[in-house]
Amino acid sequence: MEITIQETVFFILAAVIVGCSILAVTTRRILRAATYLLFVLFATAGIYFQLNYSFLGAVQLTVYAGGITVLYVFSILLTSTDNRHIEKIKRSKVFAGLIAALAGAAICIFITVTHSFGSYHLTGGELPVDAIGKALMGTGKYQYLLPFELISVLLLACIVGGILIARKR
């Protein structure tokens, strides 16, 4: 059994995602949590590239890793009052959260592993950007002009709302 480069990359990405997502919710310092979140988002973009969805990976890199993480870091720096004050968490709360998360994860992973998805295999090459653009701008069946317009209105509303909420009076 030889290990191909595809599998090597996949296992590295899997290790980064699992390790960093657990560290992001268990570390006490919030700036470190934001940094671990950034690593998780990078590895997710790597998974999209591996699935041959380069456009989705590029969107993930620009929107999430480029935009949202910067927003998080700036707002953490704006709202951090005292660096030596590290948030204390009650032990019973941690225990209850751990039980809930582990039980849920166990059930979901059990169902995923035992369920048979039928026969499938990774087919199809790169999704062409031409097809993406035509599906995004068309009005026919399986085309997405209406959600596209809806999300543009949503983003406009978010810009207005964000300015209205965060401005100084």
Binding site: Q6, S21, V40, Y53, L56, T81, G97, L154, I159, A166
Partner: protein, 103 residues
């Protein structure tokens, strides 16, 4: 050995439940928001993986992941605006101090 679809699903399940654990236990509003971000991201992975493995000729999962990324970016921007506004008013973003917003 082939990379099976279940491997991706297990990764995204672990990411989702790490987010749920953080959502239950963290006491800082920004840390709660980071946990929500983890959950949304794991769902995007599921959309892309199901589309690629089970329906490789369709594009529904791809576009749902694309729109979910846009919606979560908008949600984050508004939530951070609200958090900064809260910080301006009560100089604190711990969850248990938020009861003072009512007065």
């Amino acid at each position: 050995m082939e990379i099976r679809m279940e491997y991706y699903l297990i990764i995204s399940t672990i990411m989702l439940f790490a987010g749920i654990y953080g959502f239950f236990t963290r006491r800082n509003l920004l840390a709660v928001l980071i946990s929500v971000e983890l959950m949304l991201n794991s769902v995007d992975i599921n959309f892309a993986v199901f589309n690629r493995y089970l329906f490789p000729e369709a594009m529904e999962g791809f576009f749902f992941a694309l729109f979910a990324i846009g919606v979560s970016a908008a949600e984050t921007a508004v939530a951070i605006a609200i958090i900064i506004n809260i910080y301006r008013n009560i100089r604190n973003i711990q969850v248990k101090k938020l009861g003072t917003m009512k007065h």
